[in-house]
Symmetry: C2
Subunit: 370 residues, 2 copies
Amino acid sequence: MHESLFDTIEQPTLLLDEETARQNIRRVIQAAGAIRLRPHFKTHQSAEIGTWFRDEGVTRITVSSVEMARYFAAHGWEDITIAFPANVRQAAAIAALAGTVQLGLLAESVETVRALARAGVRPAALWLKVDTGAHRTGLLWDDPTKAGRVAEAARAEGFPLRGLLAHAGNTYGAVGADEVCRRYRESVDRLDGLRRALDAAGYGPLQISVGDTPSASLCADLTPADELRPGNFVFYDAKQMQVGACGWQDVAVALACPVVALHPERGEVVLYGGAIHFSTDFFMEGEQRVYGRVCLPHGERWGAPVPGAALAALSQEHGILRFQAEAASALRALRPGDLVCVLPAHSCLTVTQMKYYRTLTGRRISTMNE
Amino acid sequence: MHESLFDTIEQPTLLLDEETARQNIRRVIQAAGAIRLRPHFKTHQSAEIGTWFRDEGVTRITVSSVEMARYFAAHGWEDITIAFPANVRQAAAIAALAGTVQLGLLAESVETVRALARAGVRPAALWLKVDTGAHRTGLLWDDPTKAGRVAEAARAEGFPLRGLLAHAGNTYGAVGADEVCRRYRESVDRLDGLRRALDAAGYGPLQISVGDTPSASLCADLTPADELRPGNFVFYDAKQMQVGACGWQDVAVALACPVVALHPERGEVVLYGGAIHFSTDFFMEGEQRVYGRVCLPHGERWGAPVPGAALAALSQEHGILRFQAEAASALRALRPGDLVCVLPAHSCLTVTQMKYYRTLTGRRISTMNE
């Protein structure tokens, strides 16, 4: 009899179901259809997992930092957008990169455009970062005058101006396809309005780049986007389950955590698995914080989430699994040393914390953070 | 003219003021007085910073994982308590460690005691993990019968039973010395009651080990503890400022973050510095989440926190600094590429994220996470 994967686990371990991840990649490529897909690699941060995308024909990627761009450039990716407002303190590093790959950068101020030009990053193309209502950052979609000033600076400095880029982050707050697609529609319509204004002012033709996992997973009509940049879909997570972007079977990562203590009298199990493993990202379910969904090992994978149970509190190394009466029969048999598999609230951050994966066949896959 | 520290910073950088950290170490040693100090090294996670404690005579330490115990054992520490419920899946690694250093372990169930014994960790000493009311984990202080069963198992298996150990984590929810010390008093009194019951039942003499930074910083009378295990005090952080355990001048770490975008019309500045740098730990101030206190560079350190400003939201790489009208004059002059120094909400987790420090003289100090 061969040794089970679960027998080999001694401490919190990030399990990765390769087949599910590859299916997720294929499904989103199909959903994108004729629209160019530039998946965000900040979710997996792994050269090897990058090759799973390449196997399906992906050639363009999105990253969130100069370091991440450098890492994937070193692994053969030649068309990279850094989807974060350009940090002018890194202008020299950005310029070096722009000399080796086709680089896309985000700008939202005249000042940043000029600083980038001074540093010699001109082979890079610029995108105007647009705020379509999420109010994290970007030029406001309804202020074409201000956006035009940045477009004018790009032209004056000799940058190719590629288009308008936004992150419709407000789809994460939605529940269900109708609400997700309504918010997506609002976001791309706003981008399209700004595009028309800038085209009319002579800065076109401009493209539209958007990207988030809920809309790429749920919306049949993704036009008039020219480019999609979702990232999370490769693994999904418990938050995407709440949004309705995926089912539990689509979640490709789970953190296997040893049970270290039991408090059945108050419906709690203490796991070895805390903030340094999961990150401290959570979502709300009624009045309760949810840091993850609770599954039990099942064969060589994990089973369905146990209804009425959640990872409900974290400290640096501890995770507190809290359960209602309905979950008691499923969890009653747990003993110290048993394993629980937690679907994390936010897989991108859990990957950042854990630094490497263990596939269901026991293979170790590295990330740029090791 | 020499190049300033701040001129050399390109991206989020964890600054460390060595002199302040050394002062913090000296102050807590003095506060502990005759009580044995076993500082928690999970805050700094650094062999070099460990030597700053050794310089002041510290010889015993606390850690939160087997890996951390191994790291510090490799750097010459010979008396180590792993203050986390023993994970029986790591019993072999624990046994190996117990053969090389004086090891303390936490147990809270008969089952765990027996599993540790089977794995041959017997040279290690055991502490009973006690819950004095914070309800994270541990044997309930008011159930001496149950605690006695675990003590009996320890005796039956031949373990030295060192005493009762608790983390009075509820002092973090307090504000001000009176409330912190009242909660500390309640916690140690409960431990003392359980100790007397177990001593009377023949399991003594048992020691009491407690430890948290607020009480070690604020309470004149720390008796009847035999051992103190605070950790955070070496750096402190914005949360400890809120509790009243320190002033801003005592905070020894700050994350220097480049400004990447400005939204003065809604009182916001976007920083390069997000969840992967700070962690996503926050505390509440009224209705607002606070991920950190906002300071500006001042000479070769950082100045006082700007009143009316806070790091108020984080995504993976972005930090949103939000400010009220009163802060506008201090922050109005910020431009893309300027630096802001943020005192993090929770320094332990920020250190875990950042992996190394830069001292105010520009020296690089490593941690176990690199």
